[in-house]
Symmetry: C4
Subunit: 230 residues, 4 copies
């Protein structure tokens, strides 16, 4: 788990370098699917003095199995996402400001252009609001449940992010680092989408053909972007 | 008072590092409740050459009891807040641009999401406009009076900030450092709220249940965020 | 004139540090009233390799009396302002983006708050559009004429800036450094005013009493801001 | 070609320094008209470790004639622009956020002020949408075709940029460095134009006289801006 702790630490620090968080907001986790163990940021520890050994290891019931500190208060959302989305290896939650604005507005982010289509194969969904009961009794896990519900049968790897209504974005990926990369692009996409609606309130978004072209240029067996790995 | 002067200096410099002020705008103070003495930034001195010994110590009538320089021209607002809100230990005033925009618009900032709810238990109020008489005769103190009025019987620690109509934000906290932390989050919240209304002009804000859940997660006896102190 | 060249160089560099210009856009000048000589930035020279000796000295007819380089293409506007406004000692022109937006919108910036009132005693005016004849025959000087016209009998030191319609801001002050300081605050005021109208399309601005209180707190015989000079 | 590879590398890095790209987005190319060879950024290589030898040289059919890496996936658009616009020596594509917003909104950027007029002699056009057939069969080249179509008989050196609908900006110039300079100004112009419409939804833009005055001040035989070359 030492290597995963290093990766998760690095991914947490990358979130800061990319300007997605303020103070101790935000958290990144990673999972070892072999061990069914999750590594997550500790709660409320300043990023500038966080070390790999401060990260917390828990099982899939949220029990701490390694580490001195209390895990992020969002742990149960992360765990639910790992259970609901078996393909993912990393989860990130931020309060990045433009994605939060869409979440607060309760609007999904439509695919308005090719930057979006390069990463998200369709709108980034926004969850339903949680009920008062869910909020009182099982808030953090219910957040994960609402995200999974928003996907239904859609493949969560095709749109690796969601907006929690009135709260903010979660993003994910094959690794913690991937998850952060998606969160960074999500924020850029959210910003450009807001600007676009300011210029064109009836913006309709890209055609299915363009969405397909760009998404599958970067994803799937026929991807052509980047250098082929040798 | 030397330690408080150092704290207040540091809090003033933090306001600069966080990008909340331009030139010599803004000011932070702290109070020693034991001594009934206030430490405040001097008026119009550039932050980059401000030293702890440049800070001014006054009593609660605004009389300088230590220091060579003239205190911030906003001193009487700070003093009134210390009198009206006995729990607070630090006050900060900035012209941070998004909070100013809400103040200039004369609109309170509603609790549109959980970032807000983590820090402010309800809308951040905007004061009434001052009368011409108040402005002419007792402007600076009247600003503090209007802030206190905007709270009525509400607990000023539950919403540790206010917008002075046509002017800008004041924030406070248990310490000068806390006050600045709240001012930084206020600016982020103001920015995200403006973006949200641009996307959704009828945004309604979070439910009481969500407001409770987030606020009391970080505040009060049952708080669960961060590491328990040992 | 060596000292003035140093001051004008420094003021030009400050414009860059404050983020008001891109590439070689923008220019600052200063005047020696004793000699009736103007020092101005050369045209199209990158700021990062500009030296005091690159600055150009001209008389009030725009004739170069010292220096190897061609003066800023906006020279005649500067000269007209020095003639029309005898109290000023420095002029700056930028394409700072929010002030440009107001200029392009053809709207004066109303006094919406105390940041504005601390520096500008009333709206920042926008010029009329120039006629096709003026543009063809005497464009640069006519720009200065239109600015002076926009002031009529108002004191240009009370509102030390104007927006040239479809173009951008000019600001001025007692010294080149003062002029730049006013240009920096103008940009902040322009930004906050745009945000304010986004939140409140019918924003009315500050009362006369508040405008008086703030403006005369920093200006005139009864000013109380800052440290008294000894 | 070594010198051109160095120039194209430098132009790619300038795009990063100017904040126009995220991750490996964006690409700059240059052409040697003598050799009919194009130098372009490799696909998906991080800017921070790109070296001149990583750049790819292709002929005008897109065949790699030098280099180990796969060329930018946008290569065929660049090549089409070099064929359609014989005067140009460099092309740049970015996802700079304000230009993208206009592209996503499907709106050309009108000439609202003199910053625009200094660089673009009229509106920056937006292409028609590509057909589903074009997108499926010959997407990258068709993007170049649509850009050339948007110019018709207009001189592409007079408006050295276009917005691809639902995608983002392409810019060009006499050299790769020029192309990037134009892309940087385009982004500033796009940003100021968005602000302007927020303040004035019916903004009409500059007169023909002002457009002429500013454009020809910087371009053509009678240009007066900058230092004459000796």
């Amino acid at each position: 788990m030492k290597q995963l702790r290093e990766q998760v630490l690095e991914a947490n620090l990358e979130v800061v370098r990319r300007g997605l968080v303020l103070y101790t907001f935000g958290n990144v986790s990673g999972i070892s699917r072999d061990d069914n163990l999750v590594v997550i940021k500790p709660s409320g520890v300043p990023y500038e003095r966080m070390k790999a050994d401060d990260l917390v290891v828990t099982d899939l019931e949220g029990k701490v199995v390694w580490g001195e500190l209390r895990p992020s208060s969002d742990l149960d959302t992360h765990i639910h996402l790992y259970k609901a989305f078996p393909e993912i290896g990393g989860v990130v939650h931020t309060h990045s400001e433009y994605a939060v604005a869409w979440a607060q507005a309760g609007r999904p982010i439509p695919a308005l252009g090719t930057t979006h289509a390069d990463y998200f194969y369709g709108p980034v969904p926004v969850t339903r609001e949680l009920t008062a009961d869910e909020i009182k009794n099982d808030y953090v896990r219910a957040t994960g449940v609402a995200i999974a519900e928003a996907f239904g049968n859609r493949d969560p790897m095709e749109v690796p992010a969601a907006l929690v209504a009135g709260h903010g974005p979660f993003a994910w990926g094959r690794t913690p680092d991937d998850a952060v990369h998606n969160a960074v692009v999500l924020e850029a996409v959210a910003r450009m989408a807001m600007y676009t609606f300011s210029l064109q309130p009836n913006a309709q978004g890209v055609s299915q053909a363009l969405l397909d072209r760009h998404y599958f240029r970067k994803h799937g067996a026929a991807a052509t972007y980047g250098q082929s790995e040798k």
